[in-house]
């Protein structure tokens, strides 16, 4: 057993981090917020060329031929950089929707409960529906996740397991990033003559953020290795919690600045809220885990 990333896996993660730092740094993120254009087609194609969407497609089909462990490392980086757009749905559509693997198509999905669809206006296809259904725009809580209401909800449940896991990986990246942002601010901001990070009240908030993120990290990585449905549900549940609570704690550490539009904290929080509703909600994950727990006991009872 060696549950640590291999050198290849570390290199892959570092490569994606460098790519995104160069191509979608903070200025690009703030520019998207200012213009309200969430999907950048040129960036989408570059991600496609880098193998972001074709990562798990077999090499015989023009893909990279890697697995879920590599995919979660890559999506963790996209979550860290807050790259907007239907990354998970387009990745899942590789090999299904023409152009998705290469990043030429933008594919969304019916991954929210009910009739709301994210990125409908920018999508070439929607998983769970034939074609792109018509929809009415809805004002979205997240400035980089436009929402539409459609008349009839589609069904993308065939993609739910992988969708939930990759969304968990995005949450994980965001959670780890908010720890960094909080720690950096707590080390710089001075009050009462010392960095606020020297106060235990602030320090302990940061420590709790890290603990949640690290537990979520092992859950996400383990689920990627085993592909077990219960572990995927646990990964989504824990990563949702780490991302949402992490962003809130990060906001608190930033004090008044955290409540402004100018700080990036709210972007992490709002996106984390969106992702928490995608593919598998907390309540759904808890119910699934409860059934797995009961099933494991009943199985053992029958065996014994």
């Amino acid at each position: 057993m060696d549950f640590q990333p291999t050198e290849d896996q570390k290199d892959l993660r570092a490569g994606v981090r460098d790519l995104l730092a160069g191509r979608y740094g903070r200025e690009a993120l703030r520019a998207s917020v200012d213009t309200g254009a969430s999907v950048d087609r040129a960036l989408w194609r570059e991600l496609g060329e880098a193998g972001f969407f074709a990562l798990r497609l077999p090499e015989s089909e023009g893909g990279v031929g890697l697995g879920l462990p590599e995919a979660v490392l890559v999506f963790e980086e996209a979550g860290r950089a807050l790259v907007p757009g239907p990354l998970v749905a387009t990745h899942l559509a590789a090999g299904v929707v023409p152009g998705a693997a290469a990043g030429k198509a933008v594919v969304s999905a019916f991954d929210l409960d009910g009739p709301l669809v994210a990125h409908l206006g920018e999508a070439d296809a929607v998983l769970g529906a034939s074609g792109v259904p018509a929809g009415e725009p809805v004002r979205s809580v997240d400035p980089l996740t436009p929402l539409h209401r459609v008349a009839v909800a589609g069904d993308a449940s065939a993609y739910r397991e992988a969708g939930a896991l990759l969304t968990a990986a995005l949450q994980l990246g965001s959670a780890l990033r908010t720890v960094e942002l909080a720690v950096r601010y707590a080390g710089e901001r001075e009050q009462f003559g010392q960095p606020i990070g020297a106060f235990q009240a602030v320090k302990h908030l940061c420590a709790r953020m890290l603990v949640r993120a690290e537990v979520a990290r092992t859950a996400v990585y383990a689920a990627a290795v085993t592909g077990d449905a219960g572990e995927v549900a646990a990964a989504k549940l824990l990563a949702d919690g780490a991302a949402v609570q992490g962003a809130r704690d990060c906001l608190q550490v930033h004090g008044g600045m955290g409540f402004t539009w100018e700080a990036d904290v709210h972007l992490h929080l709002k996106r984390a809220w969106v992702r928490a509703e995608q593919w598998r909600t907390a309540a759904q994950a808890q119910e699934l885990l409860a059934q797995e727990l009961l099933g494991s006991v009943e199985e053992a009872g029958q065996a014994g």
Binding site: M1, D2, G197, C206, L210, A222, A234, L237, A290, V297
Partner: protein, 385 residues
């Protein structure tokens, strides 16, 4: 990232499993919790069986009498023994997990030869004399004095929260040998025989009603200078070696046990109708997910230790302990919810577990101290004044 076990590791597991199946039915009945001599005999008897079968000191280095097993093999050992319902390390805890590894790492050849084999064979029990009434989280402020007199130290003071003190042969004792030095620099680590004149033990009753630990009073106790492990006044560093072991794989068996308890909780809730309450059911589901993740975190930390030189657990242990101790408390609070009013009865096993779980956020470094460690050593936040 690989969660499969190698052929060698699987063989190790299979052999261990077969041995446990053979030996566990031969064990004597468990002594009652208040029968300290009985508990000592039971725990040492189990250690002797481990020794005879070649499992004693599995994770200790070979030159200290151990088996030099990898952290993964140690993980498998702890997982399988818990799963099979084998006895807990019990009275051998300090000897095997604290004092022994410290002597193995820091002791002279003579000291290793004197103290390590009896721990491995199940002949001698150790206890820990670290905390004092006025030195808990701030352990380095300890005041028990050791004054040099010829070839002896003469020791006066008092230690507290000492588990198994009534039945221990030796105490790993932290004493102040230089009161003038800064607090971390004037401490020494001694092996004190518990039958030395001047040592008296007063059992302390825990909130669970049992006497699990004691206060130890030291009144001019003479301990040979030859019993000092490490240099004089270097005891703090020596101690840190010990503590890094405690925060590593110490909870592997317990995580396995907690997952089994969750299964029993689900079965009980299903039987008494509480399962139909979605709030409780979802809480059980969440805990199942959390304990699954904690098991994975253990495997993560073990893999990390295996890659690092010497296999000494890192600060990741603090992250684990924080998450685990709080999850354990929630587990038994949830058990009480499943039981309802029955949870008020001390005849319910889970009620005693609920009471004992209260110590988990305090013992071996409170959650607040652990958060300081995480914030300062992992996240690099400034030390407070």
């Amino acid at each position: 990232m690989d969660l499969t076990y190698t052929e060698e590791e699987q063989d190790f597991r299979a052999r261990l499993r077969a041995w446990l199946a053979k030996v566990l039915p031969e064990l004597p009945a468990k002594p009652s919790p208040d029968d300290w001599p009985g508990r000592r005999a039971y725990d040492l008897g189990w250690q002797r069986r481990l020794y005879e079968a070649g499992y004693a000191g599995l994770h200790w280095p070979v030159d200290a009498g151990g088996r030099g097993a990898t952290p993964t093999q140690h993980l498998i050992f702890l997982e399988e023994t818990e799963r099979a319902g084998a006895p807990y390390v019990g009275a051998n805890f300090v000897g095997l997990l604290h004092a022994g590894p410290t002597i193995a790492a820091e002791g002279t050849a003579e000291q290793r030869a004197r103290w390590l084999p009896p721990v491995l064979r199940g002949d001698e029990v150790w206890c820990q004399g670290f905390s004092e009434p006025d030195a808990g989280s701030d352990l380095a402020s300890l005041r028990t004095r050791a004054v040099r007199d010829g070839d002896d130290y003469v020791i006066s003071g008092s230690k507290i929260w000492t588990s198994h003190a009534e039945v221990a042969d030796w105490c790993e004792l932290l004493v102040r040998t230089d009161p003038g030095a800064p607090k971390h620099r004037g401490i020494s680590w001694l092996a004190m025989p518990m039958d030395a004149p001047g040592v008296s033990v007063r059992p302390l009753r825990t909130l669970a009603g049992s006497a699990e630990f004691a206060q130890v009073f030291l009144d001019e106790v003479r301990v040979p200078v030859a019993n000092r492990v490490g240099a004089e006044n270097d005891g703090w560093r020596v101690t840190m070696v010990t503590l890094s072991f405690e925060r590593g794989t110490a909870f592997v068996g317990e995580v396995v046990a907690c997952r089994r308890t969750l299964g029993e909780l689900a079965r009980t809730a299903k039987a008494n109708g509480r399962w139909d309450d979605p709030v409780l059911r979802r809480r059980l589901g969440r805990l199942y997910g959390e304990f699954g993740a904690l098991w994975r975190l253990t495997q993560w930390n073990v893999s990390e230790a295996e890659r690092s030189a010497g296999g000494v657990p890192g600060t990741g242990g603090s992250v684990f302990k924080l998450a685990y101790s709080h999850a354990r408390q929630e587990l038994y609070d949830t058990a009480a919810e499943v039981l309802g009013a029955r949870s008020l009865s001390l005849e319910e096993e889970w009620t005693l577990d609920r009471l004992s779980s209260l110590s988990y956020t305090i013992a071996a470094g409170t959650s607040q101290i652990q958060r300081n460690i995480v914030a300062e050593r992992i996240l690099g936040l400034p030390k407070g004044r």
